[in-house]
């Protein structure tokens, strides 16, 4: 009986010892055992994620940033809960890191991606990724190289013509000197904006044209308001990258009526049409008064860039003449005109007798200009040329045309 009791005690003791061993764990391995953990969860093994894109050697335009890196999800022996670290460096050894993205959650579809912050342009970059799962930090996978292209910079175009503040026709041609540029640009286009406000609060006219060889021009498709001041500026844009310049300096112009000599009906017998004559003179001012109570002076001052020679007035050398005044009238929607008074050498720019009711009948014009009597405020065209009346000709040169309202002080 005693032996059985002792056996029972011994059995119970063994069971208790076994139970105690299964519950308790030493905080650290014994010194005689290998350094192996006790009662800790097994950590998974991790294979590095393989890079997918951008592939090695990819060229990426600077304007195409930000760049997204894509890696194939890592193989982990205990799936779930992996996070990723992406590194970008400027050297293959990753000694000079440009950017690090850590703690990127694993993506779906077998791939994980991250979008980088903008990288400096014009450089080569190397990138790789690693995975961390269940306490195991994997190694970085293979690295790939990509290149970010140079930055594209487009300077503002420079306005060329018309000069700021100039008077122009109601369909002027605006021209800029092409914008300077840095980087791999494609085709550049120029957007011309016109506004009646210098602040460009509202755009009256806008148009986009492709860059010319050294200059680029734009002409509005429809006429602008007459006698109105417009402001204009130009912006250049690279159509490939979408990068634009800043706007050019703001210029202005004032529209005025212009006369196309090719369309003018010459109303003096045998007078030539000077449309093709070289413009070698510029009118400075036109001063006239059609008041019948005045001498009716008409003074068209001008300067020439080349010599306008004197010729004898109908063969009389004692009467040297060198220019004719021209007048243009809009009658029934058409422009009529012709050479008027001669300018005699050494006797200035003024001619008398050009009163409102005389300029037409006394001009030697054909009809309807012969019956023309300009109304005060009516737009009348003025021009100067070398002798062009009654067969008198010299070097066939002319000035520009100025259009301005007819003045008759009697109507005030």
């Amino acid at each position: 009986m005693r032996c059985r009791s002792y056996a029972l005690v011994a059995t119970l003791a063994v069971l208790l010892a076994a139970a105690a061993c299964s519950k308790s764990s030493p905080a650290s391995p014994s010194s005689s055992a290998a350094a192996a953990p006790v009662d800790v969860a097994l950590t998974p093994s991790v294979a590095a994620p393989r890079p997918v894109s951008p592939t090695s050697g990819t060229q990426i335009a600077n304007a195409a940033q930000p760049i997204t890196l894509v890696a194939q999800n890592a193989l982990v022996t205990q799936p779930g809960g992996a996070s990723y670290t992406f590194e970008v460096a400027t050297d293959a050894a990753f000694a000079s890191k440009a950017q690090t993205k850590d703690g990127v959650a694993e993506g779906t579809g077998g791939r994980t991606s991250v979008t980088l912050d903008a990288l400096p342009a014009g450089k080569d970059y190397y990138w790789h990724a690693r995975a961390t799962a269940g306490g195991t930090v994997g190694v970085f996978g293979p690295s790939l190289k990509f290149t970010v292209g140079p930055a594209i910079v487009i300077s503002a175009p420079v306005p060329a013509s018309p000069a700021s503040g100039a008077s122009v026709s109601d369909r002027p041609t605006l021209t800029v000197t092409n914008a300077s540029r840095v980087g791999p640009v494609g085709t550049i286009s120029y957007r011309f904006d016109l506004s009646t406000s210098s602040a460009f609060g509202s755009i009256a006219v806008t148009g986009t044209v492709t860059e010319g060889s050294s200059r680029t021009s734009f002409t509005p498709s429809s006429v602008l308001a007459t006698n109105a001041t417009y402001y204009w500026r130009v912006t250049a844009t690279d159509q490939t990258s979408g990068i634009s310049s800043s706007a050019s300096a703001t210029q202005s112009f004032t529209t005025q009526v212009t006369i196309d000599l090719n369309a003018v009906i010459i109303s003096f017998p045998d007078a030539p049409n000077p449309a093709d004559w070289p413009v070698t003179a510029t009118i400075g001012a036109v001063e006239q008064d059609g008041n019948p109570a005045t001498p009716g002076n008409m003074c068209i001052s001008f300067s020439t860039s080349v010599d306008w020679p004197n010729i004898p007035f109908f063969g009389d050398p004692s009467v040297p003449v060198w220019a004719n005044q021209w007048y243009f009238a809009n009658i029934g929607g058409k422009w009529y005109g012709g050479p008027g008074e001669y300018l005699r050498a050494e006797r200035g720019f003024c001619k008398s007798g050009q009163r409102t009711n005389e300029i037409g009948p006394d001009g030697g014009w054909t009809s309807p200009m012969r019956e023309w009597a300009p109304r005060p405020g009516e737009l009348v065209g003025f021009m100067m040329s070398t002798p062009a009346r009654s067969g008198m000709r010299s070097t066939d040169q002319r000035s520009n045309i100025v259009v301005q309202p007819w003045v008759d002080s009697s109507a005030r």
Partner: protein
């Protein structure tokens, strides 16, 4: 482990007292030393061997302590995990192979109950027994990878692989053993033991069941 050793010392002491109380056992039955070996069965089949010591503490009751090695008790998890890594290596390398073993070194102590035999002649010839014990098993994850026959386990980092503890290292885990056998005395001092053991190692993953069947050859004192 220290508490278990303390228990065994006490058990031997109790055994001596019980022996003094019940009357002296035959001189050949007081204690035994045995070496054993055989096959181990679990997820994989391998070999096991070891050494056992025991002493009689009461009539038909012995306490024992045994230690040994199971050469490979790898679970299916180990092979599956190793296959994942091998598959990854195969994406860029040819002729990738791997071995995944999980050798176990164990030490247990317990109680052996000799089944009483009515016929004195049968008792002399056969000594069936059952036993129960507990202890510790040191489980090692012995995994290696080779590429074209060259072992690359130590340089897996260059191939983009980091092994976790599921494929490397090892740890100590509790172990419970139940079993039985038949002892066949040979002469006055020797013992032939046909034995079976079932062991349960309480690992963190899927746990390990290891059965051992073999023979032992011992000396009786």
């Amino acid at each position: 482990m220290r508490s278990l050793l303390a228990f065994l010392v006490g058990a031997f002491a109790l055994g001596g007292v019980a022996h003094a109380q019940s009357g002296a056992a035959p001189a050949a039955d007081r204690a035994f030393v045995e070496v054993f070996g055989g096959s181990a069965f679990g997820n994989v089949t391998s070999q096991s061997y070891g050494l056992a010591l025991g002493a009689t503490v009461a009539e038909n009751v012995q306490v024992f302590i045994e230690g040994g090695v199971v050469r490979n008790a790898a679970t299916s998890d180990l092979g599956t995990a190793a296959q994942v890594i091998a598959g990854y290596l195969s994406q860029t390398q040819a002729n990738v192979t791997f071995t995944a073993k999980e050798p176990v070194t164990f030490g247990v102590a317990g109680v052996k109950f000799l089944v009483p035999m009515n016929s004195s002649s049968m008792r002399v010839k056969l000594q069936p027994y059952v036993l129960l014990g507990g202890g510790l098993a040191k489980v090692k994850r012995d995994v290696s990878f080779a590429i074209a026959g060259s072992d690359v386990t130590s340089s897996l980092g260059t191939y983009g692989v980091t092994l976790g503890t599921d494929l490397s290292g090892g740890n100590n885990k509790p172990m419970l053993v139940v079993g039985g056998g038949i002892g066949v005395p040979i002469g006055r001092q020797f013992l032939f033991d046909l034995q079976y053991r079932y062991g349960r190692i309480f690992t963190e993953d899927q746990g390990m069941n290891v059965s051992r069947a073999g023979i032992g050859l011992g000396v009786r004192f």
